[in-house]
Subunit: 132 residues, 2 copies
DNA sequence: ATAATTGCAAACACTTTGCACCTGT
DNA sequence: ACAGGTGCAAAGTGTTTGCAATTAT
C-alpha cells in the first residue's frame, strides 16, 4: 500500500510541521487546516502515529488527546524534555542526552530509545507562575 | 467537601495499590473490583487523578487510557522510568535521579518535578524482543 | 485502469452526568 | 440529619468506519 501525495495531506503535514514543538488537539488541527474533513485528519494522524512521525499524548489535565509532529531525522540523536504544564518541548543537547542515557542504561537495564523518549517536567516559566 | 471512607473506595484503592507499577485500563480495573459500578470507578479515578494519586497515560498503541496508582510519599524523591512497550515502571535510585535532575535543570532551565516526572523508554526485555 | 484518499453520515467506545437511593459521619 | 457516595440508565464526546464519489499514479 503506497501513499499518494494529496493536497489535503500536504496541508495537514504543513500545519503540523509549522508547530513542531507544540502538542495540538484534533480540534486545533482541524481549525488549522480548513477544508479538510475531520475523518481525513483522524485517518492521517493514525497513519502518522503508527509510523512514528506523530507523537500522541495526554494534556496536563488528562482530558484531551494531543498530537505532535516528531522530526525523526533531526531529533533521534538527543532527548527531549516536555513541560507537562504548557506543553513546550525542549531539545536536550546531544552530549548531555547521551550521558544521561548511558547512566540509566547501566544502572537500570533500561535501553532508552532517544527517538521516542520524552522526559516530562515543568519548564521554568510555568514553575515560577504557580506552585500548583 | 470532605471524603467519607466507603467500602467501594477501599476496594478500588486496594486494587490500584496492589498494582502500583502497572498501568491499567478502566476495564481492567473494573474487573479487579467486582461489584463496583463503572461510574463509581470513573468518579473515583477522576478525584485521584486530580489529587495526583493516580497517573493517567496512553497505552503504547495510543488507543487506551491507562490509570496507575502513584505512591507520592515513597516516590517523590526519585525519578521513574517507564517502558512504553510493556508499561513496566522502574524506580531510579535517588542519587542518580538527583544527579540527572540537576544537570537538566542547569542546562535547560527546566525545573524537574520528580514527583510527577516519568521518563519513557524501553525496558531491556522489550528491547530484546523486537527491534520494532 | 487501478489503488489510494476523501467527505459524509452513521456507528462506536469510552467517559460523564442526572437523579433517586444508600452510606458514612 | 446531613453531606457525600453509589448505581443505573441516559446523554455526551471524541474517534472510527462503511460507502460512494474523487483523485493520484
Amino acid at each position: 500500500m503506497k501513499q499518494y501525495k494529496t493536497e489535503k495531506r500536504n496541508q495537514l503535514m504543513g500545519f503540523l510541521m509549522s508547530h513542531r514543538d507544540e502538542p495540538l488537539s484534533a480540534e486545533q488541527i482541524a481549525e488549522g487546516v480548513p477544508g479538510v474533513a475531520l475523518s481525513t485528519i483522524y485517518r492521517n494522524l493514525a497513519h502518522l502515529a503508527d509510523s512514528g512521525d506523530v507523537h500522541k499524548s495526554l494534556s496536563a489535565d488528562g482530558h484531551t488527546v494531543l498530537y505532535q509532529y516528531y522530526d525523526k531525522p533531526r531529533c533521534s540523536s538527543h532527548l527531549h524534555i516536555k513541560c507537562v504544564s504548557c506543553g513546550e518541548m525542549k531539545h536536550v543537547e546531544t552530549e548531555l542526552s547521551q550521558d544521561l542515557a548511558e547512566k540509566l542504561e547501566e544502572k537500570n537495564d533500561f535501553s532508552i530509545d532517544a527517538e521516542n523518549t520524552v522526559i516530562l517536567g515543568v519548564c521554568k516559566s510555568c514553575h515560577d507562575k504557580g506552585e500548583k
